[in-house]
Symmetry: C2
Subunit: 453 residues, 2 copies
């Protein structure tokens, strides 16, 4: 163990919850972005309780030790990566579901509960936790809150912010703060719950969450898998579905470059009746009627499509979308990007991605949550390091999104990887204001330094 | 005009937008709570533009002049009341709807647009702005944002926070800040849009809002008017409707004391088959099927009920609920309260209201948004001033709500009237934190001083 004086204090206070195991420290340098910090963190705390988190932060404050809050490490922008001289504070082992109230349609959970595991536990109640990032099988609720995670269902069911009623948060000095309510409504003072959601560990550590549950949609979902001659046609069909005021639970668009790789990966290339894909799933009592309307719109837009309420057949249609990440990962190293634009700008953003890809000679397969305008352009390259021209192209892509009235991150967060573009979106005065608010929570600047701000 | 040196500067900068008309100043002392400030404000600015708001705030900062932002003055907790030595800054005349985008399902509005007028303008698009405070015909979007207004539809369609994508805000020093996005998703930095919503004019002045629109539910709503032998039975029925995972758009509960006054006011007393009332309205494609399930539950709970999809008959059922405020106002002076509790605590809160009423010898007719646990106990009294025992009883009622896991304000805000109980709910450490955040936005403390904090 290194001789940092804080480590002795941490060991005394936390015992076995403190680890300096080299394998664990090595893992904590990285996340699912594929990137890693240059140095190795000092130590990692595997907090078992709120008291552990408080003790770690009190000692960190005393020693002005930088702290990196971390959940399952599935982030895509480096927000939870620990570097040299930093203490990683993991809440991944705080995995208890403390309460499920069917009457109040809420659950109280520790931050390390895995998103999908909460939903499995909720099954007998007929309720569900709506945020469904693609990482739902491996990401924690605490991490979902830190990034205001989205997912496939957001256009209909909202993002994480809409699903959190209250939080317990430990501040940099170890103070435990209870924010928000157990109630659906509440306007007592400033909405600090909402402020914490998406703050990426820069304001405090979420140690408990009271989350809102929704009744599971009744009946069987109806699913449409539609092939189009071009992504422009698929985008036009998705816009027409939105314009018809249908509200699919899922509406996913896959562009030509991505679909070609997916079909090759699934060995389906010869059977595909088109070069771009639109997946639509409706749910609830009028699922079939809505899907029939959507199907008619797809046909009007030259889509070759099938509609099903059969679970297995629906699963085969979903499999095309689910194969996106495996197909990309099988082909190359991937930088997964995450811009969002107003829905009407989806075609323009897709065109911008294609133009940037051509100019930089890069393959940028793209999947989009078409119902909410959130696109994930994936940059493919070889080797472990993101090449400079990929960052240059990504920078152009972010600027294109901002110019179209959008944002450089829809649901993954800023972390370390998008910091350099933050001011372009927020402007200098708002960035100053945000930094001043951070300083109120964290006057010594020990909470996740170098992330976001 | 008084000799305050700021007034000369304001007149020079704002011309006719500055008023010291005694009638206007007198009106700005009060709001719909029936209360008024002891003194008369210095002047009122009727801003016509963002630039007017910026000019007023720059001059106010220069002269350290307290500023009270104000919309239509329909608040119920004194948040927009101006007092001696204060400048009232009204955005009520900024009434333009700047944009409606059907494709992006959003509208961009000035803050003085009346809630119901926005919805009237939206009718041709088949979209609507969901927040529907009871004041919707007279309250402004800016005021709805300042208080995070709720209403009857919240359990299904969310509160104002869920309906706002972005804001333009002028800070105390006149800086214009653009917060949030035109996109459904966005996690770039701290969510200052959410922080501003419900901040009651203490952080800045909302001068433009980009609001989210939802497709109007299809088909005709189905309405149930149900009479019960007691409010306990009505509350049990509403809990059972929620437990059955039905999601009525509207579910309003009226207790015995309130119903007796309403029926007398409507001259319907002899025909009512019960002493408490539950109004349920379902909407969307499965409105009738959901209402039939709700009706069966109501019958199981000894409710005498009728179900209709006829608009006129539905309107007659709604009329009982709509008559609540007129019936109370016809009877006495009213202090409208606004606690919220977890839905499971609704019966306990109703019992607490009855017990407090009996102990203080006060009539406290109550209506509740049963779908979300928000109750409006109304204190009836004579004379213009709220008698001390009414405040004492209200204080007990707030404490009971907090004890039951609830809050002292569900949707009206804190304003001046609930300040004294704020620390009991938030605790001293959170209140200090909130005050420090306010100081970042407003270092001189000129924004709505004496409100909330």
């Amino acid at each position: 163990m290194s001789g940092h004086p804080a480590l002795t204090a941490l060991r005394d206070a936390l015992g076995d919850a403190l680890s300096t195991d080299p394998t664990e420290l090595e893992a904590a340098r990285g996340d699912y972005s594929g990137q890693r910090r240059a140095g190795v963190p000092l130590a990692i705390v595997h907090a078992r309780s709120i008291e552990d988190v408080q003790a770690a932060l009190r000692i960190a404050t005393e020693h002005q030790l930088p702290v990196v809050p971390r959940g399952a490490g599935t982030g895509l922008t480096g927000g939870a990566m620990g570097g040299a001289g930093e203490l990683v504070l993991s809440t991944a082992r705080m995995t208890r579901i403390l309460e499920v109230s069917a009457a109040d349609q809420l659950a109280v959970v520790e931050p390390g509960v895995i998103n999908a595991e909460l939903n499995t536990a909720l099954e007998p109640t007929g309720l569900f936790f709506a945020p469904d990032p693609a990482s739902r099988a491996i990401s924690t609720i605490g991490g979902n809150i830190a990034t205001n995670a989205g997912g496939l269902l957001c256009a209909k069911y909202g993002v994480t912010r809409e699903a959190v009623l209250g939080l317990k948060v430990v501040l940099a000095d170890g103070t435990l703060m209870e924010l928000g309510h157990r109630t659906v409504k509440g306007v007592t003072g400033l909405d600090l719950t909402a402020l914490l959601i998406g703050s990426e560990g820069t304001l405090g550590v979420v140690v408990e969450a009271t989350v809102r549950l929704l009744p599971l949609p009744s009946g069987s979902p109806a699913t449409i898998g539609a092939y189009f001659p071009s992504v422009a046609g698929a985008a036009a069909a998705s816009a027409a579905i939105t314009a018809a005021h249908l509200r699919p639970a899922v509406m996913e668009l896959i562009d030509e470059v991505a679909l070609a790789r997916i079909l090759a990966h699934l060995e389906l290339s010869e059977r595909a009746p088109g070069s771009a894909y639109l997946l639509v799933q409706t749910d609830g009592a009028s699922a079939l009627a809505e899907a029939e309307q959507a199907l008619a719109i797809i046909h009007e837009h030259d889509g070759a499509a099938a509609l099903t309420t059969d679970a297995d057949e629906g699963e085969r249609m979903l499999a095309v979308r689910r194969a996106f990440h495996p197909a990309m990962a099988a082909a190359a190293t991937v930088l997964i990007e995450d811009v969002a634009v107003p829905r009407s700008a989806l075609p323009a953003m897709l065109a911008a991605i294609r133009e940037i890809g051509a100019r930089y000679d890069l393959e940028i397969p793209t999947v989009a949550h078409a119902g909410d305008g959130n696109l994930h352009p994936n940059f493919l390259f070889t080797g472990d390091e993101v090449p400079p021209q990929v960052w240059d192209a990504a920078g152009e892509l972010f600027r294109a999104a901002i110019r179209l009235g959008g944002t450089l991150t829809g649901e993954h967060g800023v972390g370390t990887l998008k910091r350099r573009w933050l001011e372009e979106e927020l402007g200098a005065p708002q960035l100053r204001l945000q930094r001043s608010i951070k300083a109120v929570f964290d006057p010594l600047g020990i909470m996740n330094p170098g992330k976001v701000f």
